[in-house]
Symmetry: C2
Subunit: 236 residues, 2 copies
Amino acid sequence: MTTANLDPAENAIDIDAQQIRDAIRDAIVERRLAPGTKLSETDVGNLFNVSRTLVRAALQALSYEGLVNVEKNRGAFVAYPSVAEAQQIFATRRLLEPVILREAAPSIRKAQVKELRELLAEEVRLTNQRGAPARRAEIKASGDFHLAVAAMSGNAILKRFMDELVARSSLVIALYGQSVISSCGHSEHRQIVDALEKKDVEAACALMLQHIDHIEADLDLRPARKGSDLKDALQL
Amino acid sequence: MTTANLDPAENAIDIDAQQIRDAIRDAIVERRLAPGTKLSETDVGNLFNVSRTLVRAALQALSYEGLVNVEKNRGAFVAYPSVAEAQQIFATRRLLEPVILREAAPSIRKAQVKELRELLAEEVRLTNQRGAPARRAEIKASGDFHLAVAAMSGNAILKRFMDELVARSSLVIALYGQSVISSCGHSEHRQIVDALEKKDVEAACALMLQHIDHIEADLDLRPARKGSDLKDALQL
DNA sequence: GAATTTTCGATTGTATACGATAATAGGCAA
DNA sequence: TTGCCTATTATCGTATACAATCGAAAATTC
């Protein structure tokens, strides 16, 4: 059995393709599924008690998000971003997130600041908690902060672009991250919120760029990867 | 028969989902398929001599690009962007295209200028040509210019975002465009190339923003649409 | 013993079958 | 006629069946 470890929470009745997609995406983003893992159509189907038809639809959707690679006649695999791709993902975030901040800033009111601070509180709570599930939730929470800001831009298209970038970033961090707490920057998140609250957009942008730099600095983006990890992750 | 007018050029042997997707996308972008047109799975399947399975995959893919709306238990329709969506598409382009220009500028060499000028020449050639096919090709060529610039940024992710924005823009122009030659701005395209050649990125960005303004100015984005057109486009 | 070929098994690719849903048309009553 | 209800039909949603492909192991040859 090559495929395993998808959250069996959705074992209710009548699953649809969207739920399967979400479950797999969450598993990838929360790093329960390692990059390179094969996602066999029959195996996934059995896990959710659905036919391959729905699984294929879900896997196809994930391939558009860049989270899964579908190789013709070979199957679907959790994406295994190259160093070049990883750099491009972060380069794009550096370009987009300041733009998003500038768009979001004018519509930041007390309610928005409150919403962001609640997300910060959740991040802190998870950081102080032990265990693997808390670590996984922390990864997701860290991304959620960036997505919340994107949502405040009021631009659904930008928000969707960020959805993809944040999800793929998690994958990259899973692959190339060095420190265990790779998504460490909740203090940086707070600084950004502080700047937004003061309507100091330029400061917020500068902090955001620094923040992205720090995330990327924690990665080991040297060309070669250790072979053992690769073989492991590919599950050959 | 509700569905018709897909280019039958791909009537060779062994069509796959990707080819169907491309054929339908081209038909939408070149305005051979009006917004709102129903894309029945069986009809499209018959046109390409494939089963509904492949058609569904293609339609699903197009829905991720925002070119097609899939309504549960009702079917797929060529997207019918609302005024709000249209404005968001152009707002996003205004944000992204300057960023793209700044990214692309450093790697603009003689070869790149030449490539862009060739695209301009093609646009001019099509403009001076009569007939509906030339008009359709003109629409596509106009978008290709923006996509070529995006490709020169060297950032595949940005390029893909632009792919989507340009395709959806064509749809919006089809819906809300007033003048027949809605993608008129090939002279503006030339000015942008001129600025890029002179390494004057700021001028290029300013011209790009003006250009997008002009495209949007040609649209009739007033809330209500004339009832007749709406009925026509919905093909009821 | 190593390299090449062949065979076999597993997995994907596509078509089709069947059940479910929604739109339409027809009939009935007001 | 108009409104409502029912029945029909067409279309979609999902499962399954069968064909095609790929990879790995076994067999053969040098």
